[in-house]
Symmetry: C2
Subunit: 343 residues, 2 copies
């Protein structure tokens, strides 16, 4: 691969001039400019990104930490992040923690601040302590899907009102006439879905429904499947199941199918998020949509700002920790919910 100096030699100028031409810095005469461009072309020169990163003291990549790329939500989110990142010339390195805090920390240790100049964190089971460490080392961190706008996490974040999402789900089911509703709370391990469930319970309370069955589960189709079966065995009179995420909701639909129940005639099912599969399932899943693309955009731009300001003044950043709030979740009614029918 040709280097800057080779291009310079070829064009009869110095490396600095080539650099100037390439980045439109400093004044360069039109004729030399042409000569340089020709040389670049002739040699097929491409800047060495690692060298540039070293010289500039900043890297052209952002790291995106996810718990598992196998959960279809994350690829969707990653795609949105990538699109947003490209607008500022950033590449995205996707880091799978596989729900393992140690793997997460290892990634942070290695790439934060050296290969990437900023870190985006989704529910990746990371220790906040580790995140604070990388932040204190000068690499900005943004939490992408903070679930409680009213309780800032002490780290820059984009918050989504997930309590509201749960409430909207509960209201929808109540309005259809359901009173015996089972709940599946995903992300058992991290407990990150608590706000969603609280919102759901709030809705029930407001309607005078004082209790309901709950089952905690893994945030997967399989997890939802098992939980739904247990719920339905424990109380065959359930007319609806609310899951805190689309994946377990999909699993609940499968469980219904295997139990000979028709959705929504025998059992209504709904989730939260509106991943692509929600649209593509049969029956199509009713859900509360979270503005994924918007969140990705907000997160990337917040991270960008933090990066810029971190180069401005030294130090771990200003005193107040910024938080962006996404537009509220919205109910999306599809085919998996309907009025209850007595069984």
């Amino acid at each position: 691969m040709p280097t800057l100096s080779e291009v310079a030699r070829h064009a009869g100028v110095t490396p600095a001039t080539v650099s100037n031409v390439l980045r439109n810095r400093g004044r360069v005469g039109e004729s030399t400019r042409q000569r340089v461009l020709e040389a670049v072309d002739a040699l097929g020169y491409r800047p060495h990104l690692a060298a540039r990163a070293l010289a500039e003291g900043r890297a052209p990549t952002l790291a995106l930490m996810v718990s598992s790329i196998a959960n279809p939500f994350y690829p969707e989110f990653a795609l949105a992040v990538e699109r947003a990142a490209r607008t500022s010339g950033h590449f995205v390195i996707i880091c799978n923690t596989n729900e393992d805090p140690l793997t997460g920390r290892a990634y942070l240790d290695q790439i934060a601040g050296t290969l990437s100049e900023g870190v985006l964190v989704t529910n990746a089971n990371l220790q906040f302590a580790d995140l604070h460490v990388t932040e204190s080392r000068g690499t900005p961190v943004v939490l992408c899907m903070w679930e409680r706008p009213n309780e800032p996490p002490g780290l820059p974040c984009v918050a989504v009102d997930f309590r509201l999402a749960g409430e909207l789900a509960g209201k929808h089911l109540l309005e259809l006439g359901h009173r015996r509703i089972g709940a599946i709370v995903g992300s058992k391990a991290s407990g990150i879905h608590a706000a969603r469930y609280e919102g759901f319970v709030d809705a029930l309370r407001a309607a005078g429904v004082r209790k309901n069955r709950v089952k905690h589960a893994a945030d997967t189709i399989q997890g939802g499947y098992s939980a739904a079966r247990e719920l339905l065995e424990a109380d065959p009179q359930l007319t609806a199941i609310f899951a805190t995420n689309d994946l377990p909701a999909l699993g609940a639909m499968h469980a219904a199918a295997d139990l000979g129940l028709t959705v929504p005639a025998d059992l209504s099912v709904m989730g939260i998020t509106d991943i692509q599969l929600a649209r593509e399932s049969r029956p199509a899943l009713t859900t509360v949509a979270v503005p994924t693309v918007e969140v990705a955009g907000l997160a990337v731009s917040l991270l960008r700002e933090l990066i810029e300001s971190s180069y401005g003044q030294a130090g771990p950043g200003e005193a107040n920790v910024p938080m962006r709030i996404s537009s509220p979740p919205k109910l999306v009614v599809r085919a998996s919910t309907g009025t209850p029918r007595s069984r």
Copy 2:
């Protein structure tokens, strides 16, 4: 972030010694070794990967080119690639081409050889010419899912016998007694599923079935859905649908549902690949499994070899282009196929 020299100063040695300690190079006295390690710890030193990359002349990352991370096959594959890559200390940069050759080329131009020292290519709609260019610039390239073991592509690759996959699918359906089978051929644009369809047709021919309906479609659930509806409208007597990929097969199942057909009683449906969703759909999808994890492993290790040898002797590599062949695809019978029933 502390640098090597700071650690060195702290330990009362020179940067070279610290470097030696960190990489177990050169002989270092046990006592200095300890002192250095302590300093590393005390300062929280982490090597600057970009600087190291520059000094070593090689990057710690691999690029994985995919057409769309929204297609659930790719995340699964990416995960397998990431796992394999980590064993050699490589990070993976996932590059979404979004089926656009220009985006693909832009990625190649920017990161190949500068941010990443090797490129893994899945069906990302890349021009072979572009791949040859990056190869000739000294960055090894490996095609991950070459569909025709008998027709080497002129680029290092891992081949999977997809013709056989199609044949196995055809045979399975024939053995169940199906004779009127519709086919959905995915990846319309790239034509990359041709071998699968050929295998399917071969199986039909061998059984004396001379014609069948085909429909080309996008490699998505939606694409399969539309194609299946058209197929079923054109010939309501179809008793089975074979799709060259799981995603369109899933779409075909949805189409059946919307048309009031029960799978598999009224219509058998099957695909190829065995993505996770195939297991998780209702009914669970019969398919021909491709050894995804194995392919990822083979691809990464081949790429690693090419990288090593490219540092050994200069030049674009040896004359013979290596090809690894995965173990053969295997039929996985689940619940979406059964014996035909006359309608």
